[in-house]
């Protein structure tokens, strides 16, 4: 399949809720996108024509997408299609990868995140990240959660820090399990607990956006269910982008879904519409399990 393959299935007429990322539709960034319940939400992140190269190899082709505020956007697609790559663009984690080059514009609340005046450190305090494999620091549970607020100077007094740690662990649904062992190493928790600790660590700095790269892939169904519940609750305060390989998970937790294939964003729209009536044949094939 070639890079311009997605032009072949341009629909003749489009319902208002459906957005196929066709670059000419995006000449001017839309400030709102429509959610399934037709309640308009402003776009938090607006990406336009993002290309990513690893050395000479291009991994993403002209990706344009709006990510709405206080909703869950799921990225799906076969392995190697560039979901993680695009996710890393959103908080400039790609900067830390040797030989990785990003073009195009990504705006967070209207401000270009590639602006040299914007410190990636500040950006990452606003756009937090949870990784596929739980990666707590080899320090105590308390220190894991307190680290972010401390380096950003968000809580200086010990009491403030204690409060942040407790509320973050509560939000991550971990408080009850660890409140008596805050000084034990975070690496001593179970996989699911570690992942919730990582989520607590991420929300402790009160980011506006949380990026999650396959946060449940190392977890059993029960731990997965807990994290999905957690994501649901977090939607009230945070904008969440989640990469997942599980269609069911995307259907369960997200309001919008974006389907990537071979470095292209094939289709993006309200989750139920993507799953019940995708406009693109490739999307249809993928969600019905015909490839990928």
């Amino acid at each position: 399949m070639t890079t311009n393959a997605r032009t072949e299935a341009t629909p003749m007429h489009m319902p208002a809720e459906r957005i196929v990322p066709q670059s000419d539709l995006y000449e001017t960034p839309s400030s709102t996108v429509r959610t399934p319940d037709a309640e308009p939400r402003p776009a938090r992140i607006v990406a336009r024509k993002v290309n990513v190269f690893y050395g000479a190899k291009q991994a993403l082709f002209d990706v344009s997408i709006d990510i709405p505020e206080r909703a869950v956007t799921a990225f799906i697609g076969p392995s190697g299609c560039g979901k993680s790559t695009f996710l890393r663009c959103l908080n400039r984690m790609n900067d830390t990868i040797e030989g990785c080059r990003v073009t195009g514009t990504i705006r967070l609340d209207g401000a270009d995140i590639a602006d040299p005046a914007l410190d990636p450190v500040e950006l990452r305090a606003r756009v937090g990240m949870v990784f596929q494999k739980p990666n707590p620091f080899p320090k105590s549970i308390y220190e894991n959660v307190a680290y972010g607020p401390r380096i950003h100077g968000l809580a200086r007094a010990r009491a403030d820090l204690d409060a942040v740690v407790e509320s973050s662990l509560r939000k991550a649904g971990l408080w009850g399990e660890v409140k008596d062992r805050l000084n034990e190493p975070g690496t001593g928790l179970s996989g699911g607990q570690q992942q919730r600790l990582c989520i607590a660590r991420a929300i402790a700095v009160s980011p506006e956006v949380i990026l999650m790269d396959e946060p449940c892939s190392a977890l059993d169904p029960i731990a997965t269910a807990r994290i999905e519940e957690l994501i649901d609750e977090l939607t009230q305060n945070f904008t969440i982008v989640i990469v997942t390989h599980s269609m069911q998970q995307a259907a369960r937790v997200s309001q919008r879904t974006a389907f990537f294939h071979l470095g292209n964003l094939v289709e993006e729209g309200p989750t139920d519409m993507i799953f019940t009536g995708p406009l693109e044949k490739r999307t249809q094939d993928y969600i019905t399990g015909r490839f990928g």
């Binding site: 830390t96 450190v121 990452r124 990666n135 620091f137 680290y147 972010g148 380096i151």
Partner: protein, 444 residues
């Protein structure tokens, strides 16, 4: 192919596979046994040779501080109106006079008193006592002039020759002409030993005395030990921060390009440079150019720092490389800066590795001899260096010097004793490294 055939094929290969595995294990065990065997032989030989040197023939004599021989005025006291300088001069004058007294005669009389029937003449009687005995008695008198006129039991070292004779390091059947001690002196030594006046006592002075040529039995390692200590301090203070910082910069911050590749290759080359070359470099740069003093532990420490740096850098870099990238991502993803990521998260998990590498590097430097010879640390130095800029030797150099001493019979054991001290020091260092490592790993 049916299941039966497949199974019989697998079984046919199985015994050969097991045999190969067994053989490989055997090779491993044999290699370890050989290595351990050689270590055991080495340590055993050194211990057998060196341990006797830690006890030394010591005379226990009733010394009569005879006022007829020790004729000296009273020790000066500070008088009214005397300036401190004047008083010090008077005291020094008095001490000089005490030094001029014939303490050898006192020693000789003490020996004779212990063995009344001896046929040995004065020289022969004195030849079984180490020559530093008179300084020992002098120091006693200087400290307490009241001793004059009294008789006191004093422990004195027997001479190296007497020690050799009594320990049996010398073939007793050799004719007089080939013996170090005269026949009456040998008889005297045997008699005193039989009477219990000569005992073999633990030789503390090996640790507290400095090297000595005139009184070999009283020679010790204190000067060399302190010299080595200063050098180790210099190495630790310089090599560790410089090495760790260079490694952190190269691994975490430096751009990966031709230039950093070149630096990496050169650091690896530096680790392979023979140590004597570092000595030449040290002599040229630190002594000829910077005009630092010869034989100084500071210069030795600088040279050893150059030698240790590559070890520390390479070990630190490999420790940093072993840190999983997920740890860095976790910190960066939270908004930690690169410096914070390195210093808060990456470096702490590498402490055990860095520590072990450092201590092994320092232990290596501690045992290094060749470069020190080229910067004059093989000089004979009969004092404990007060500062790293004073002249000094080092433990391995002291071993080298003693090994070359012409009194072979005595210094063979001494050399091994010095080796034991050096090895003990290194084993202690390694033990500390292991201890700290397990402590740090447990904490992490």
């Amino acid at each position: 192919m049916n299941a039966q055939e497949r199974l019989s094929l697998i079984r046919a290969g199985l015994s050969a596979r097991h045999a190969r595995e067994k053989r490989f294990r055997l090779y491993g065990v044999a290699a370890i046994a050989a290595a351990l065997g050689f270590v055991a032989i080495l340590f055993g030989m050194i211990l057998v040779r060196g341990l006797p040197a830690f006890t030394q023939a010591t005379l226990s004599l009733d010394v009569a501080f005879d006022p007829a021989i020790l004729k000296v005025e009273d020790k000066p006291q500070r008088r009214e109106g005397q300036s401190p300088a004047e008083f010090r001069k008077a005291l020094l004058d008095w001490e000089r006079k005490v030094t001029m007294l014939n303490f050898n005669r006192i020693v000789e009389q003490a020996v004779r008193a212990a063995a009344p029937g001896t046929t040995a003449d004065a020289r022969q009687a004195l030849s079984i006592v180490e020559t530093n005995a008179r300084f020992q008695l002098r120091d006693m008198v200087v400290a307490d002039p009241g001793l004059i006129g009294r008789t006191v039991r004093v422990d004195m070292l027997a001479s190296a020759n007497a020690d050799n004779w009594l320990k049996g390091n010398i073939d007793r059947s050799l004719p007089d002409a080939q013996q170090q001690l005269s026949a009456p002196a040998r008889a005297l030594a045997d008699q005193l030993h039989a009477d219990g006046r000569i005992r073999f006592a633990f030789a503390w002075h090996i640790f507290t005395n400095v090297d000595s040529r005139s009184a070999p039995a009283a020679a010790g390692l204190a000067g060399a030990f302190v010299g080595s200590l200063y050098m180790m301090l210099v190495v630790i203070v310089l090599a560790v921060p410089i090495g760790v910082m260079s490694a952190v910069y190269l691994e975490e911050f430096a751009p990966k390009n031709r230039f950093t590749d070149l630096i990496e290759v050169n650091i690896n080359n530096l680790a392979a440079v023979p140590s004597i070359v570092f000595g030449l470099l040290g002599a040229a740069v630190f002594i000829n150019w910077f005009r630092l003093p010869l034989s100084a532990p500071l210069v030795g420490g600088l040279v050893l720092t150059l030698m240790t740096l590559p070890t520390v850098i390479i070990a630190t870099r490999s420790a940093l490389r072993a840190v999983p990238p997920s740890l860095r991502q976790a910190a960066l993803g939270l908004g930690a800066s690169r410096t914070q990521t390195v210093f808060h998260h990456v470096l702490p998990v590498t402490y055990p590795g860095i520590l072990t590498a450092t201590i092994i590097g320092v232990a290596q430097a501690l045992g290094e001899t060749a470069p020190l010879l080229l910067i004059g640390m093989n000089a004979f130095v009969a004092q404990v260096p007060a500062t790293p800029l004073d002249q000094s030797t080092a433990l391995p150099v002291q071993i080298y010097l003693w090994q070359g001493n012409e009194n072979r019979n005595f210094f063979e054991a001494r050399t091994s004793a010095a080796i034991i001290v050096l090895l003990a020091l290194m084993l202690t260092l390694n033990a500390i490294a292991i201890f700290l490592r397990t402590r740090l790993e447990k904490r992490a």
